[in-house]
């Protein structure tokens, strides 16, 4: 019985304390920053502008603009699309035929170029 009474008393105390803590911000005053906030903001802006004046900084800040980044992405995608849709429809067989034809002509031209070497004008040591 005594333990139960003690528990109740203890819980009441906790409840009271919690209420006290919850109302501890009533009537709180606004905190103020340091007096030189404006000077710091100005210094930060000046630093940013100095960084942007360098070529790479300017390029970086230009490319990082959302409008520029999205526009660049659209242009790349557009070019990819154009290249993809403008390719002639070739079957694998014609591609292989074209490839073998091309490799044949490559070897012929190699042979032709090696045979047309100017032996007569070759300077002998």
């Amino acid at each position: 019985m005594n333990v139960k009474l003690n528990d109740m008393k203890h819980n009441d105390e906790i409840e009271k304390k919690v209420e006290e803590v919850l109302s501890s911000l009533d009537g709180i005053k606004r905190a103020q920053p340091q007096p030189w906030l404006f000077s710091r903001i100005k210094a930060r802006l000046a630093r940013e502008q100095a960084e942007e004046q360098t070529v790479w900084g300017a390029l970086g800040s230009f490319l990082s603009k959302p409008a520029v980044a999205i526009a660049s992405l659209c242009v790349i995608l557009l070019f990819n699309g154009i290249l993809l849709f403008n390719q002639p429809a070739e079957t694998p067989a014609t591609i292989i035929a074209a490839q073998s034809e091309q490799s044949g002509s490559d070897s012929e031209s190699y042979i032709a170029s090696s045979s047309s070497f100017d032996f007569e004008n070759l300077v002998q040591p």
Binding site: L22, L25, Q32, P33, L37, F38, R40
Partner: protein, 190 residues
């Protein structure tokens, strides 16, 4: 000079107008950031960032909301980003310490004492701020703006881009969560 004239002048790059804007709203921005990040230096950094963003993007302010609401939104977003970054850093530090890369253990945040709290409430307020820190982001923002900035539910809902009833619900949940956390804290303590 009224709010709109100041904004129009800042859009033209007038430095005096920018100075007046900073002077007028710096306490509000700083106090809102301080309530969320609970660190004076970080709040000052955030206040600077807010006004730098205002300087750059004042052109995009169309006047759909009050200027102070727009400022609060920037301050809250930047403060929450800061808290998330700090938590990520803390988690990363903990993982690194597990792998023995860094022998330093993560340090628990020290008690935060808001300078606007009266001396006799100092300890209680520090305990409450610790509990506020454990709330989910939305509840934390609503509670901080309402309790620390003294804003009405309507103003809080404008800043959070939600309805008044959502703010009421957030506040109700925030209060009951805080109550539970504080009860647990004091039960563990005794």
């Amino acid at each position: 000079m009224d709010e709109w004239t100041l904004i129009e002048q800042l859009k033209k790059g007038d430095e005096a107008a920018f100075r007046t804007i900073v002077d007028t709203w710096q306490d509000m921005v700083y106090n809102a950031a301080l309530g969320i990040v609970q660190n004076a230096e970080d709040a000052e950094d955030i206040a600077q960032e807010v006004f730098v963003q205002v300087y750059h993007s004042v052109g995009s302010f169309k006047g759909d909301s009050k200027f102070s609401t727009w400022l609060y939104r920037i301050a809250v977003t930047k403060s929450l980003d800061h808290v998330r970054r700090k938590r990520r850093k803390k988690r990363f530090g903990f993982v690194r310490s597990l792998f023995g890369e860094d022998s330093e253990k993560p340090i628990d945040a020290p008690d935060f004492h808001h300078p606007g709290v009266s001396m006799e409430q100092k300890e209680n307020a520090a305990t409450l701020f610790k509990a506020i820190n454990l709330l989910p982001e939305n509840q934390r923002v609503a509670f901080t703006l309402h309790k620390l900035e003294g804003l009405s539910y309507q103003e809080v809902s404008d800043i959070m881009k939600t309805t008044v009833s959502s703010v009421e619900s957030l506040m109700h949940r925030a209060k009951s969560n805080l109550q539970k956390k504080l009860e647990d804290y004091y039960k563990d303590k005794t």
